[in-house]
Amino acid sequence: MSTSEHSTAQRLAVRLTVNGILHELTVDSRASLLDVLREHLDLTGTKKGCDHGQCGACTVLIDGRRVNSCLTLAVMRDGAQITTIEGLAQNGELHPLQQAFIDHDAFQCGYCTSGQICSAVGLIAEGKARTADEIRELMSGNICRCGAYPNIVAAIQQAMRQS
């Protein structure tokens, strides 16, 4: 363990169930959940866009709720059930939102897409959004610089009709 005069780093144990698989890890206490997913579990589908909770690219589902994983220290989530984009398809079949995003061309570069889809899964589970305006408002934590917003709204509406 570090004893540097400046460093506050500690290594701590944490148990995370990610996409149904339990991981027992020892991580830097400063490590965000996002970095642990990307750097330690090789789950790079979750993206780092700003690392400040301002863009939503890192959105994952923690115990069913959508959360910015860059603002979450991994050690704070001991025992949590986490779903990332890699965990949405079941038995090789895409989640209805994943298919809807393809159908409606709801992405271009694809970098915000994991966060958009996870956020939309959370949105639908919350049950608050019924109209297009409500979807727009409640999806505004997920920036898409390619500007696919109209297609994202259309994709979510398609998935909502199916669910």
Binding site: G49, H52, Q54, A57, D103, S114, S140, C144
Partner: protein, 739 residues
């Protein structure tokens, strides 16, 4: 024959993108990979007197700290740092010497076993500077400019037309105003990043975020004086770029430096704040004067642009040229000046020069229409030109009239009350505005490789990029059509410097260039298949010429009699080959006989809260004339995305510099506002038919940039129509409407 060109084909890389399988530059792994974190300068101009790295080096897990005084060898001449799209000047050399040229300049790199350690240790690097005076404020330096060199890129028209001053003096109606565009940053969602894989034996594979793998490859070989075979640059997926990735970025240099220093694989990811130390759309001041007869016939146009550049490179784009070519007008004059400032060099951002210059021109046209008491659309019709006014040449095609007509009809423009402040929706003022868009339709030399195997599968490849534009998809569509194969039998590869030649992906030139290269290569594959098929004894294709056959449904068949054919499998099997591999480089000719442009008409509705000044863009219709559309689904998305970026330009986006310190104050997504979902409402995209048999064999023009040109003007004009207040200074924030 099944055809994919022109259809709404879903992205072939869609599955990879919605499942998280698509790998971006920072997502490649290697054994023993270490992490690098960049230390950025906190002054704007001066010299580094001393860098104290001792505290950083004491942190357990830190391997090395690189500075200009302590780093592997780099080239000591400008040529080593030159890249394919560098402007004139002296290219920036990252970590080269003690000079600080702009705020946020990289000055040290910390390398550690884990990213948290690298980032923490970077905060411990102490720097002593000798500061020098700086200037970053374009407005203060506007009289301290240099004229744009009479250069090879034709960035501004070389000579005036007629006598604009005389015509202005004689004009029945005149308009003269200055328009300003703020600094904008591209802000792609993916931060710039490089993962350098240490291959051993001195060889490196660089996973880089770029719009030009071969440009980066050549550049890195120049910077590090390494043989071409030793560096491979790979970039299969790019998380947005919008022009920011045309030139190699300093992250690639620093990551390679780090790998060479520690002889291990390295990952280096810029922070969002550091993304603001890269290139950007330069702030510009654009003065447009218009003179017209009482009936609205234009008699004079002048356009003077002043834009910022760095002290070390002259970056400029064609801000003024559009004013010279778009409308019929006998008297024109242009000036384009640059203010060198203590900043990093600006770079291309979606429709560089046109997004800004046409904004100014199209707002000026709206103001002229008001002064004339004429409908703004009617003013465009009255000055419509079927020829490029700069050269007198006709266009290869120009369906702008049809854009105006169909856009206006879809929008309901005829319902517009011309008087400002007359249309309302409850407490909101409603405004309708329109503008014209124009961009270039260029073709560049490219080489496509096609490998057809006897099982009826083809791989098409080229070292181009797909930054979200849909290049993988259109490459697959074109190859499938040209080879007569189902789409699922075609795979596309790109983003690898070892593939066949491609210039950087920008300027809207890739779709047409790569498609025509694929078509040309497929023609050679077809000719070879014909040769094999005709070698079969009693061949049903005996006597047929290469233009007399097509590939369709896995067969090579006679055009004259489609019952006469040979399957691809038989031709190859009987010919004793299991693959046909061809690569062809195109050589597009840009003769002066025709102008090559895309055009658009944009109609925008805004609603403005009268009390608060909040502006919402509630409706946009964008009608584009862009030649043959390869994929109506992804093409629509390109225009949608451009309109959204245009909304940002009009209402939100502004990089704010504290000129006392020369430092950007809003280097984050919370304070640099890009449009979010709630900012975007109804957008209708119309592609008008524009057959073009002249521009290139497939009649393609490219649509990556035309969609943003004119959007800010249409919105600004709508804001005027709603409020009666003309804001000539983007972005139109509520303080400007209230003031």
């Amino acid at each position: 024959m099944a055809s994919y060109i022109g259809t709404a084909t879903s992205r072939v890389d869609g599955h990879a993108k919605v499942t998280g399988a698509a790998k971006y530059a920072a997502e490649f792994d290697a054994p023993d990979l270490v992490h690098a974190s960049v230390v950025s300068s906190t002054i704007t101009h001066g010299r580094i007197v001393h860098i104290d790295t001792s505290a950083a080096l004491r942190v357990p897990g830190v391997i090395e700290v690189l500075t200009h005084e302590h780093r592997p060898h780099m080239a000591d001449n400008d040529a080593g740092y030159h890249d394919d799209v560098a402007p004139d000047g002296t290219p920036f050399r990252p970590l080269y010497d003690d000079k600080v040229r702009f705020n946020g300049q990289p000055i040290a790199v910390v390398i550690a076993e884990e990213s948290e350690t690298a980032r923490f240790a970077a905060s411990l690097v102490r720097v002593e500077y000798a500061q020098e005076a700086h200037a970053t404020d374009l407005e203060r330096e506007r009289d301290n400019t240099v004229a744009l060199a009479d250069d090879t890129f034709s960035l501004t028209p070389s000579k005036p037309r007629g006598n604009a001053e005389k015509a202005l003096a004689a004009a029945a109606v005149r308009h003269d105003a200055e328009y300003r565009i703020a600094i904008e940053h591209h802000n792609p969602m993916e931060p710039y990043a490089s993962t350098v894989i240490w291959q051993g034996g001195g060889k490196l594979t660089v996973h880089d975020k770029t719009q030009g793998v071969q440009n980066v490859q050549r550049y890195l070989c120049g910077v590090f004086e390494m043989p071409s075979d030793d560096i491979r640059v790979v970039s299969p997926f790019v998380g947005g770029a919008f022009g920011s990735g045309l030139r190699p970025q300093y992250n690639a240099v620093l990551a390679v430096l780090a790998a060479l220093a520690v002889q291990r694989s390295v990952r280096l990811v810029l922070t969002r704040a550091q993304m603001y130390s890269l290139g950007y759309r330069p702030e510009s001041i654009e003065r447009v004067t218009l003179g017209a007869d009482a009936d609205g016939t234009l008699s004079a146009i002048t356009h003077e642009a002043i834009a910022m550049t760095s002290r070390f490179e002259e970056f400029a784009r064609k801000d003024t040229i559009w004013s010279g070519m778009l409308y019929t007008c006998p008297n024109t004059r242009y000036a384009h000046r640059l203010a060198p400032l203590d900043v990093n060099t600006p770079c291309d951002m979606r429709a560089p020069g046109a997004a800004t210059g046409v904004y100014a021109l199209e707002c000026a046209m709206d103001e002229l229409a008001v002064a004339l008491g004429l409908d703004p659309l009617e003013l465009r019709y009255r000055n419509y030109s079927d020829r490029d006014q700069l050269t007198g040449a006709p266009f290869t095609s120009k369906a702008l009239r049809e854009c105006y007509r169909r856009g206006a009809a879809a929008f309901g423009w005829e319902q517009r009350n011309p008087q400002p402040r007359t249309m309302r929706d409850g407490s909101e003022l409603v405004g309708w505005g329109m503008a014209t868009g124009i961009w270039e339709a260029l073709d560049v030399s490219m080489a496509a490789r096609v490998v057809l195997t006897a099982n009826g599968h083809a791989e098409v490849s080229c070292a181009t990029s797909d930054i979200g534009t849909g290049t993988y998809t259109i490459m697959s569509q074109v190859a499938a059509d040209m080879l007569g194969l189902p789409l699922e039998n075609v795979s596309a590869r790109l983003g690898d410097s070892t593939l066949s030649h491609s210039p950087v992906e920008g300027g809207s030139w890739i779709a047409s260039s790569v498609s025509n290269a694929i078509a040309a290569t497929c023609a050679e594959v077809r000719a070879e298949l014909l040769r094999l098929a005709q070698a079969i004894p009693g061949s049903p294709l005996a006597g047929a010429g290469p233009e007399g056959v097509v590939l369709a449904q896995g067969q090579i068949v006679s055009k004259a009699d489609t019952r006469r054919g040979v399957t691809i499998a038989d031709a190859m099997r009987l010919g004793g080959v299991d693959r046909i591999e061809r690569e062809k480089t195109t050589d597009p000719r840009h003769d002066e006989s025709h102008a090559r442009n895309t055009h658009s008409a944009i109609f925008a509705e805004v609603k403005v809260d009268e009390q608060l000044g909040v502006v919402r863009v509630t409706r946009v219709v964008s009608a584009a004339a862009a030649g043959r559309i390869l994929n109506t689904k992804t093409a629509r998305s390109q225009i949608l995305g451009s309109v959204v970026m245009g909304i940002g330009m009009a209402l939100h986006e502004e990089t704010v510099v504290d000129h006392r310190f020369g430092r950007i104050m809003n280097a984050n997504f919370a304070e640099y506002h890009v449009p979010v979902n709630a900012d975007v409402h109804d957008i209708e995209v119309i592609f008008v038919d524009e057959p073009d048999s002249i521009i290139n064999p497939l009649g393609i023009k490219g649509i990556g940039e035309i969609g943003i040109v004119g959007v800010a003007a249409a919105i600004a004009n709508a804001v005027y129509h709603a409020t009666g207040k003309r804001v000539r200074n983007l972005p139109i924030t509520l303080d400007k409407l209230q003031g």
